[in-house]
């Protein structure tokens, strides 16, 4: 955007904010300097300018003025509502911008802070220096999927599912994005599989194509994006117990999850553990090599033996 164009748009905003009546295109052309002589060129430029204002989030209202289309910006729709922050609230506000440093949302975060400072809020541009939060949005699919979620548009993309070598085309109504342990996930309704699905952004290949109109995606009221993404399997209602020998003074990690630990003899302690998922627990116990010996139940014992044999195979 050139200085001239910035200047013209600035005039346009001020002019449309100041008017109570709707201003017609002809009236706007007279009031705002910088529009071209030719009618055609003016029309094209005015269309682009309107689009530009909408993209900046400026609420442009269209109405009728003496049978002609007119425009104005209602101040109550334009203005940031009154906002009063206590000093401790203002102090943590700056942290928000630090979270997105060097990401696609960095600009939006600093733009928001400009506006809040303009509303009279004093923020430390750097925020507290003893807390440094960061979230990455490195996955190439992030910007397009974020926009699709925000705008409620259906997307299609190539996806390589876990354990598959060939990518498949997916058609998805995006419900939301969530990040866990540094990875972003898309949760949405898979139109081909006719069910909610979770997609890891790092497994999306190539370009994400948004299709159809904005607002076409309806997110179900009661949907919990994070629950779908991170708790794919409900924990079984029936919880079992395991008895595990731990070498005295060792297997400290296991002791942290144990329900109870009691001494057996000079070499061993015995711990009671909860079993939610046999395979997962077996893998976690195998990590401690000969510092752990599973006594019971037999299926956990077998799973650990299998796990250790797997290391040798």
């Amino acid at each position: 955007m050139s200085r001239r164009k910035t200047d013209r748009l600035l005039h346009l905003v001020v002019c449309l904010l100041a008017t109570r009546r709707y201003l017609t295109a002809a009236q706007i052309r007279q009031a705002v300097p910088g529009y071209p002589e030719s009618d055609e060129a003016f029309k094209r430029m005015f269309e682009r300018d309107k689009e530009e204002l909408r993209e900046l989030g400026i609420p442009l209202e269209v109405g009728a003025e003496e049978d002609e289309t007119g425009y104005r910006i209602p101040p109550q729709a334009y203005e940031l509502p009154e906002l009063h922050l206590t000093s401790d609230e203002a102090a943590v506000l700056g942290l928000a911008a630090r979270v997105w440093k060097q990401t696609n949302l960095a600009e939006a975060a600093s733009g928001a802070l400009f506006k809040l400072r303009a509303a009279g809020i004093e923020t430390d541009p750097e925020g507290s220096s003893v807390l440094e939060p960061r979230v990455g949005t490195d996955e190439p699919a992030f910007p397009a999927l974020y926009e699709a979620v925000r705008d409620g548009r259906v997307v299609s993309f190539d996806y390589r599912a876990m354990g598959r070598s060939e990518p498949q085309r997916r058609l998805v109504e995006p419900w939301g994005l969530t990040s866990g342990r540094g990875r972003w996930y898309l949760v949405g309704y898979d139109r081909v599989r006719r069910a909610p699905r979770v997609f890891r952004l790092s497994r999306v290949l190539g370009e994400v194509v948004a299709q159809g109109p904005e607002g076409a995606v309806r997110v179900p009221e009661d949907v919990d994006i994070r629950k779908i993404a991170f708790e794919r399997e409900e924990r079984p209602a029936e919880r079992r117990s395991a008895r595990v020998r731990l070498r005295r003074g060792r297997a400290l990690g296991v002791r942290r999850w144990a329900v109870s630990v009691a001494g057996v003899d000079e070499a061993w302690d015995e711990a009671e553990l909860h079993v939610w998922d046999v395979e997962f627990l077996a893998a976690s116990l195998a990590r401690f090599a000969d510092d752990v010996l599973v006594v019971d139940p037999p299926d956990l014992r077998e799973a650990v033996i299998r796990q250790l044999k797997g290391v040798l195979s």
Binding site: S2, T6, L9, L10, V13, V14, A18, Q30, A31, V32, E52, L56, G57, A77, E79, L80, P81, L85, D88, E89, V92, L93, A96, V99, K101, A108, A109, G111, K115, A118, A119, G120, P125, L131, E132, P133, R134, V135, Y146, V149, R150, R164, G176, T178, G180, G182, R200, A229, R250, L252, G253, A286, R287, F288, D291, L293, I305, L308, V311, L312
Partner: protein, 318 residues
Amino acid sequence: MRSSSTSADRLTRLLALVPYVVARETVSMSEAAEAFGVSERQLQDDLNLLWCLELRSPDPYCPIDLSYEGGEITVSEAESISRPLRLGADEAAALLVALRMLAELPGSAERDALTRLVAKLEAAAGEAAAAARQLSVDVDPRTGSLGVVQRALREERRLRLVYYVAGRDENTERDVDPMRVLVVDGRTYLEGWCRRAEAVRLFRMDQILEAEVLELPAEVPAGAERRDLDGGLFQGSASDVRATLELTPSGRWVADYYPCERVEELGEGRLRVVLLTSDARWVRSLALRLGEQGRVVAPVELAEGIRRDAERALALYA
């Protein structure tokens, strides 16, 4: 997430500049330039644009009157742009998602202020807050010692930690002079000067078993450097060990979970990865956990050590 960044930014800045000054009556050029992250020269050009603003119809008039004489900006007439523009969907999302994430950290001293701030911003953003509800960052809630660590930071005092080192399966006691708390990709860490290692160390908050604020002042040496997070949290060091692993399709998760120096497809969904680690014992525990999902191929001594570990463990069941 607009593409025409700098130019659209300028209009946004121009529209924020007038209310910024109005809210404060008078602001120095240097202060305003810093607040908006621009040079004073750029700021002067912005002010000139605003000052020259003239509508030509029906009668010519200048809606904005301002001056920046002597380096002090004052606005005597601001009319319709005396208030800032509402937050847009991206802006509301950037603020709300970040602040909600931080408000979820158990034990944090700022939790209460963050929760109140989120509520106020949601109300102020109105409809623009809708997109923010579809975006979230999950944080590991095991940050119980965070309050104690933050108190030590505030009071600039030394901490005594009992810290579990997973790679070695050891509880270690050490005195740490805290430098700052990092919340990176959902995990919380204390960065501090470890007096045992005599170096800057990162401690995962979920592995701090006990934390106590000592009656001693923190003494972080002048040369102690904070990590530059722009390069990622884990930066290899010269003393790191390289371990090469071959993974089956079901072991591919390793490449997603741990920072790899190299990742190579071997066909049929198998991978070869090179991991960098400061402690080879960590690779041993990873290999035992992987079972048949993957195996260490180099260094050879490490691979042999892992086999012996598995053999000794199996002997318990014989």
